[in-house]
Amino acid sequence: MKKLINHPANVVKEELEGIALAYPGLVKVHFEPNFIYRADAPIPGKVAVISGGGSGHEPMHGGFVGVGMLDAACPGEVFTSPTPDQMLEAAKMVHGGAGVLYIVKNYTGDVMNFEMAADMARAEGIRVLNILIDDDVAVKDSLYTAGRRGTGTTVLAEKICGAAAERGYDLKRVADLCRRVNINGRSMGMALTPCTVPMAGKPTFELAEDEMEVGIGIHGEPGRERMKLKTADEITEMLALAIIEDPPYRRTVREWDEEKAEWVEVELEDPPFRPGDPVLAFVNSMGGTPDIELPIVYRKLHEICTKKGLKIVRNLIGRYITSLEMQGVSITLLRMDDEMIDLWDAPVKTPGLRWGM
């Protein structure tokens, strides 16, 4: 294992120490429990948007804390969901009296930990809603699986909901928007190489020189299928068509019902893409793929979208939700509406995403 680290057990702690030193005016770091939060939090009257998940996906989520995006992020160990006490303490630190939105990627661990945290926060009198992101079309059904994983759409939801909260949307509106972003976003990823969790010390799987994994998540786990290496155009087409031609996806998710004051099962359906849809096209490096390769993928994605009648109105190309040093790419398409476009364009100032200020 070759990494710029001191000791595998200290990676997250030392990363957080570095972040605290690097962006003092923008974010602060709380240790034990660990979370990164806006330097100017709490902002009275503003909904606090909080996310979190395992480390190793940088810049997500810690790199998205700042003005116009997240109020706090809770980093777990590498590829391991954070714990409820982190989420609870983060909520207590940044909430401004207008409630907290937890944006949760749909992984069993994340879901359970964030649900526990929400219960604990409510017990302390803080309004909390949890919205799940489950956008990975590599997972076909939700009956025989834990449901679709949360991947690329998470970044877009954090930006759009962060902007909404900054504009003064109330908790219910931010949560509804987040759900809307989620059901309109779809992703799929692939890997050319595995990655190595520092504490594990060896790659999460092995791939021959002429093989790739398709339909991976973001935790170095093997994907749905191993296949022979293909060209960038073929890979892009495979991912893009899986997304664009994905049928309606129906499942139930657990959300907190504020009126009933209990967790309820909510049925959701993702409408499929249709010709004429305006979309945000997001080409994301899994971490180790160099920037020179991303426009090659974008080029083909643009061609396919055009052929399918999808109009790319915004794009995002780079490393935003990664799996350590894994080489590979994921594609996310998000059907946009005017409100979402407007919120996407709103100023944002975080270590990982910045414009307009």
Partner: protein, 225 residues
Amino acid sequence: MTITRSEELTITTKELLMCLHKMAEVLEANREYLTSLDAAIGDADHGINMDRGFKAVLAKLPSVEDKDAGTILKTVGVALVSTVGGAGGPLYGTAFMQAGMAVAGKYELEPQDVLAALDAALKGVVMRGKADLGDKTMVDALTPAVNALRRALENGSGLTEALEQAAAAAEQGMKDTIPMLAKKGRASYLGERSIGHQDPGATSSYLLIRVMADVARELQTQQEP
């Protein structure tokens, strides 16, 4: 019930603490093993997570060593919830917290208390994770273990023997996860590719019950002249 109270082994809180220390040792010893199982169908952290969690447990135990078994177990649960993370954290955390509720206030655990605690632990895991038998999770090791424990005690076995049967059932349950197709947790994303691999959570569950059986046998041996 034909259990002769006088012959019975009971577990004091001191022995419970010893058992928890053993669990921590065994999880440390099996860290790579559990992690490699998780690498095959998950994300290669289960052993690391459990080891980190039980190290945190060890750090917490001194502060409750004079307390009742319920308090000790709840403390373990809280420590696990706040240090393990992932799926394992809430699941094992809930299991220990529920087990603690089941034996609240007790300073000595009789066989029925052990059964009540383990049964509560299993119910806690199911409540939190909603897995069914056959979904390829820790439930597939814990369920047969609790059933075997109950049956053995009902049939008049002593705690040591009953825990031995529970451990054997857990081991079988763990092995039975190999041909299963995962339907819960991270492994479910692999679809057919999850078949042929042993579930890491079922394995850690077996290891923990194995420790309980081993500790019981050791105590029994010490008590017999």
